[in-house]
């Protein structure tokens, strides 16, 4: 994994390698070099399988982390390529022409995190949600509890007690 990182470092301005296991590493790549790094890894280094593409919301730092996890089956190695994006107006280049399956991941990321991938096929078609008009739900600042309380009614007959007060009242009334 270190050899690969040294090789990558000589070609692209990649960050330090985080070696999670002997066969799994993570490396951060500047946004504008991502495509070149991915194509290089796919065509020259045997990382032909895009395992997943997902985002992590680092709300406090105002950033999204995109993780492109690639796998080289013959060498039994995985490399996670990270890209940090500014959270406001997050836009990333599409890689649907490098891996056709990426289009589905990108559609989901646009819907769930609000990250735009210009040029990705059917990007604006609804994927999982229907008629959603709130902020993208997988962002950290989306409050599921608040949303549920505002949009759905409580089932009748359901009462919530404060456990301490409830037990005290139960014990004082002789358990009835």
């Amino acid at each position: 994994m270190r050899e690969l990182h040294t090789k990558l470092k000589s070609l692209f301005p990649v960050g330090d390698l985080t070696e999670q296991r002997s066969n799994l590493g993570f490396v951060t790549v500047p946004q504008e070099h991502l495509r070149a790094v991915l194509v290089h890894l796919r065509d020259r280094e045997g990382f032909t399988h895009l395992v997943l593409l997902t985002a992590v919301d680092w709300l406090e730092a105002g950033q999204f982390q995109l993780t492109y996890l690639l796998s080289n089956r013959t060498a039994g190695k995985d490399l996670g390529v990270r890209v940090m994006l500014a959270r406001d107006g997050a836009t990333m280049q599409s890689i649907h022409d490098v891996w056709p399956t990426a289009a589905t991941y990108q559609r989901e990321l646009r819907e769930m995190f609000g990250i735009d991938f210009p040029g990705s096929p059917r990007l604006h078609e609804e994927f999982i949600l229907e008629g959603w008009n709130d902020i993208p739900p997988y962002r950290r600042d989306f409050d599921t509890l608040k949303y549920a309380q505002e949009n759905y009614s409580e089932r009748p007959g359901r009462v919530t007690h404060d456990p301490a007060a409830h037990m005290k009242q139960k014990l004082n009334s002789g358990g009835n």
């Binding site: 999670q20 799994l24 032909t48 997902t54 680092w58 289009a103 599921t144």
Partner: protein
């Protein structure tokens, strides 16, 4: 494909032209095309999803997968739950084979927390995963036969699966959601007399499979409708993220158990089952033979596993369990392909992000949408089942 048979030349004069952006120019008002929804309520659909078909005559010109009918936001839920509270949630992501969620989640938490599960627990984990695989394949065989009108196969395989559920019940206390593989190890050891009863169950599974082979795989109708239909080009395997039996039926020996052995698989003797023709029939046959491999693996595991020793590693107080910042990816070979968990922690008592990589994510969306074009309507159900998709792992 049926329409490619030499005696049938399809009439493509009515076919839609492509627009500049590559999408099809479909004018429904022209009367040439018809929109047909296969699902979400349809006997020929795999679970709660639907495929929006545009047909010209009885041929599909475009298919779009729609999911979202059972989205419960598991990944988001887990960000608000402590690590141990996530443990009973994860198995709900996949009903017919929930154990891979438990294993991948537990292994990811263990790796980031620096915990090593005991050896005996690893053997029991592998046992459970193989039992789950047999169940999942049994359900598939019933579904594949059912999509072509062979309803009786489903009844036989359900019988064999039910026996395996009995073994699950005596081992874990539950039939469907076992909640047995905890971060740190497994909840319990094997009950008394388990080996004997398991051997009886395995024999029933083998005997059922023999009947299934005779009635399904040697059936003229089944062969006629599956041989040569739904071909996956081996060149597509990597670009479309195809894994598991769908890749192995195309001759690509992709099997995580061999490529990156986890748990105790390096100590077991087996070879990945391969096919050549990459059609629906071959995929069904690869899965049938894979059940036999799993049956053999269960026997090997029971013969080799240690019977004494700890089942759980020492785990911190789960109510105050904080895991240092880190990220990892754990994968396993489930009955449908590569199943994986990408876990990111930030030093708090809650996961920062959990992402589930289900094999159906690529199989049921991009691959299916590509394969469904030019297919006859009557073959759609059979093709979809042959990709062995479970919608909950798409929408999580």
């Amino acid at each position: 494909m049926t329409q490619n048979a030499p005696f049938f030349t399809p009439d493509r004069s009515q076919y839609p032209a492509k627009k500049a952006d590559g999408t099809l120019d479909i004018d429904i008002a022209s009367g040439k095309y018809l929109k047909l929804w296969q699902g979400p309520n349809h006997p020929g659909i795999t679970g709660n999803m639907s495929v929006e078909l545009t047909v010209c005559g009885d041929e599909v010109v475009e298919g779009k997968t729609h999911v979202g009918y059972l989205h419960r936001g598991f990944e988001k839920l887990m960000e608000r739950r402590t690590f141990i509270q996530c443990f009973p949630i994860v198995c709900r992501i996949c009903v017919p084979e929930p154990d891979f969620n438990e294993y991948c989640y537990a292994a990811a938490v263990e790796e980031l927390a620096g915990i090593k599960s005991p050896e005996r627990a690893d053997w029991i984990r592998a046992l459970i995963l193989e039992m789950g695989r047999i169940n999942s394949y049994m359900m598939y065989l019933g579904g594949q036969a059912g999509a072509l009108g062979l309803g009786v196969i489903g009844q036989w395989t359900t019988y064999a699966r039910d026996l395996m559920l009995d073994r699950f019940e005596e081992l874990t206390g539950a039939r469907i959601y076992h909640m047995f593989i905890m971060p740190g190890g497994v909840r319990d050891g094997l009950p008394e007399g388990f080996d004997k009863r398991m051997e009886e169950t395995l024999r029933e599974v083998e005997s059922t499979l023999k009947d299934v082979y005779d009635v399904m795989f040697c059936n003229a109708v089944f062969k006629k409708r599956t041989v040569g239909v739904g071909y996956i080009d081996p060149a597509l395997v990597d670009s479309y993220g195809i894994t598991g039996p769908n890749a192995r039926a195309a001759g690509v020996a992709k099997d995580v158990r061999k490529d990156q052995p986890y748990l105790i698989y390096s100590q077991l003797d087996f070879e990945p089952v391969l096919g050549q023709d990459s059609d629906i029939f071959t995929r069904a046959d690869v899965r049938r033979r894979d059940v036999l491999v799993s049956v053999d693996l269960v026997r090997q595991i029971l013969a080799k596993m240690p019977r004494t020793g700890p089942l759980m590693a020492t785990v911190p107080n789960v109510l105050h369990w904080k895991i240092p910042r880190g990220e990892t990816y754990i994968r396993g070979e489930c009955s449908r392909g590569e199943y994986g968990y990408y876990l990111v922690t930030d030093g708090s008592g809650y996961p920062r992000r959990v992402n589930v990589r289900g094999p159906s994510y690529t199989h049921a969306v991009s691959l299916l949408e590509r394969m469904i074009v030019n297919l006859n309507i009557s073959d759609v159900a059979s093709l979809m089942v042959s990709l062995h998709t479970y919608p909950p792992e798409i929408e999580r």
